[in-house]
């Protein structure tokens, strides 16, 4: 992998340099959002992001969770990808130890209720209890079913809507300040609307897919365009790995 931006910093990057580039600032809470997109802006092939990903993307994707306190996910994405939590391998464990992080980052899954069945692998298969970020008015029996499945329910919102600021505050109160958001697009849209995103980690896959695939951020209304600063750009083959600051 080669760093091609900022100008004057061009160099081959090894795993140690990658780790420095993708480490979260430790002095303040930080929310980084991770996506892989085709060159024409599509984020899925047949409903999955995997076909867009390559070895370079997987390397930086895992750095996102290897170095985070918590992995934030929308329930739809977690269920669709049959995601069963983070299960660190020895490399991840070593990284987390060196960075002074807990052995396993919990998942925080955002749901209005219906999109998260209590038998979802993200609840039943996780190595540490998953945090369910849901509005206060979710039916009590659903909250109980989530708890019975091993999750910790964190009420943060009202009238069927999750208040993302309250949600991130609740994570920070638990010492989970370095947040790795892995989608989906509605969650990214909500975070942007609330002004809570610090960094976008975007991989541009050298592919064109057209069709009706979704894009990385979706919301009810368009934002005043939010300006980005390109913090670093890496290239591996035809793939671009970009870090933008908001």
């Amino acid at each position: 992998m080669r760093q091609i931006w900022p100008a004057g910093r061009e160099r081959e990057v090894d795993d140690a340099v990658l780790e420095e580039l993708y480490a979260y600032p430790s002095e303040r809470p930080w929310a980084a959002v991770n996506f892989v997109s085709s060159a024409d802006g599509g984020i899925e092939v047949g409903g999955r992001s995997r076909p867009l990903s390559d070895a370079a993307d997987r390397k930086i994707y895992r750095l996102g969770s290897d170095l985070a306190d918590v992995v934030l996910l929308g329930a739809g994405t977690a269920v669709r990808e049959a995601f069963d939590g983070i299960h660190p391998d020895t490399l991840a464990a070593d990284r987390r130890r060196r960075h002074g992080l807990a052995p396993v980052p919990p998942i925080a899954v955002v749901t209005t209720g219906r999109s998260l069945p209590p038998d979802a692998p993200v609840l039943t298969g996780a190595a540490v209890p998953t945090l369910v970020l849901a509005p206060d008015d979710v039916p009590a029996e659903l909250k109980k079913a989530w708890s019975d499945a091993g999750a910790e329910v964190v009420p943060c919102g009202a009238h069927g809507i999750v208040d993302m600021r309250r949600a991130l505050d609740a994570l920070r109160e638990r010492g989970l300040a370095r947040v790795d958001c892995e989608g989906g697009p509605h969650l990214f849209g909500s975070l942007l609307e609330a002004g809570l995103v610090d960094e976008l980690r975007l991989t541009i896959a050298p592919l064109l897919i057209s069709g009706r695939a979704g894009r990385i951020a979706v919301g009810a209304t368009a934002l005043d365009p939010a300006a980005l600063t390109l913090a670093s750009a890496l290239a591996e083959g035809d793939t671009l790995l970009l870090r933008y600051l908001l």
Binding site: Y61, S65, E81, A82, I86, H87, D89, A93, P103, G125
Partner: protein, 351 residues
């Protein structure tokens, strides 16, 4: 594993709970050999220290697999040491499942077919598909292929998930070329008289399937093709190990091979108890025909080492028993030349 109208393994629960079943050969050799296979399989998963290990034990019986994973067997650490264990035992026999649950209330036992093992709804998240006590030999090869293909398909989904994971599968079968059943070497399917059961009067009969290394290798590769591992670019590797070359259970009875020179397992157990047995009684003459050359060569070399120990042993019967079992533990060539043959299949993310 009960077959209608005939006594089945369910009736043999008393055997599995018998204290006599864990004889010195089992404790000092068989469990240690299995321990080493399982430790390699767990290490190959590359789990972080403290990360949970999710295990599905196929043909779990009364849950011996759980003990094998959590006990040290004289080695530095248990195979599952350092990982919170999430163990599920799967067995076809409801009686066995009930007994297992009673014996080990902390674990989970469910009744079902090995062909359900790859079902993500029932057994998703499994890191290690365990088998010990040769459950795969109870299935005919078509059923075994189907069951293994289902597991490999689940492993391939893990290997190609957004966050890819490794999976290990231990396939434990009867070895085709064990001296316990030399008359059956020409066949891979025969009636296995379970005459070794302790504390059970009935003799259990069951059709069993034996495998040599090429036979098991073919089965695994056919299952991998059926699960489309090569097409998906998902790599896998297989390691083989033999267990119990001269001290398999049937060497005690010689029921399946009356021509076996001596009841080696019984004699080794008696030596270990300190009985004064003439070492010459344990001399072994290896078979010289009926198997491929590499297998016959292995048996000849194994017998040489065994007979040399008998000739040079001076430190007393117990030391001789330990030396003979140590010789067994050095033998895991994986040819299907012992009582059982274990394959550890490791499925990894590609690229």
């Amino acid at each position: 594993m009960t077959t209608n109208g005939r006594p089945g393994y369910g009736d043999a629960t008393a055997h599995y709970l018998s204290a006599r079943r864990r004889d010195p050969v089992k404790v000092l050799m068989e469990e240690v050999a299995t321990h080493r296979v399982l430790s390699r399989a767990v290490a190959a998963l590359d789990l972080a220290p403290g990360a949970p290990l999710t295990v599905l034990d196929l043909g779990a019986g009364t849950g011996d697999g759980l003990a094998l994973l959590t006990e040290r067997h004289g080695e530095p650490a248990a195979p599952a040491a350092g990982h919170p264990l999430r163990y599920t035992g799967l067995d076809a026999d409801p009686g066995m499942v009930a007994t297992a649950q009673q014996l080990r209330p902390e674990a989970r036992f469910v009744q079902g077919d090995m062909r359900d093992a790859g079902d993500p709804e029932r057994f998703g998240g499994t890191d290690l598909y365990l088998s010990c006590g040769v459950p795969w030999s109870h299935l005919d090869p078509d059923a075994a292929r189907t069951a293994l293909a289902g597991i490999l398909a689940a492993a391939a989904r893990r290997a190609t998930a957004a966050r890819p994971r490794r999976t290990a599968i231990v396939v434990d079968v009867l070895g085709r070329y064990s001296v316990e059943w030399t008359p059956n070497w020409g066949r891979t399917r025969w009636n296995y008289a379970m005459s070794f059961f302790e504390d059970v009067d009935a003799t259990v009969e069951e059709i069993m399937h034996t495998y040599d290394r090429p036979g098991l290798d073919a089965l695994i590769h056919q299952a991998a093709d059926a699960a489309r591992l090569p097409a998906l670019g998902v790599p896998f590797a297989v390691e083989y190990a033999d267990r119990s070359v001269l001290t398999g259970r049937h060497t005690a009875t010689r029921a399946l091979n009356p021509a076996l020179p001596a009841p080696y397992r019984t004699l080794v157990n008696r030596l270990h108890r300190g009985e004064d047995i003439d070492p010459a009684e344990l001399r072994h003459t290896p078979p010289t025909e009926g198997a491929p050359d590499d297998v016959l060569r292995f048996h000849a070399e194994f017998a040489d080492g065994w007979n040399t120990l008998l000739a040079t042993a001076a430190a007393g019967p117990e030391a001789l028993a330990r030396a003979l079992l140590e010789h067994e533990l050095k033998a895991p060539r994986g040819l299907g030349a012992g009582h059982s043959l274990s394959a550890v299949v490791l499925v990894r993310p590609g690229g």
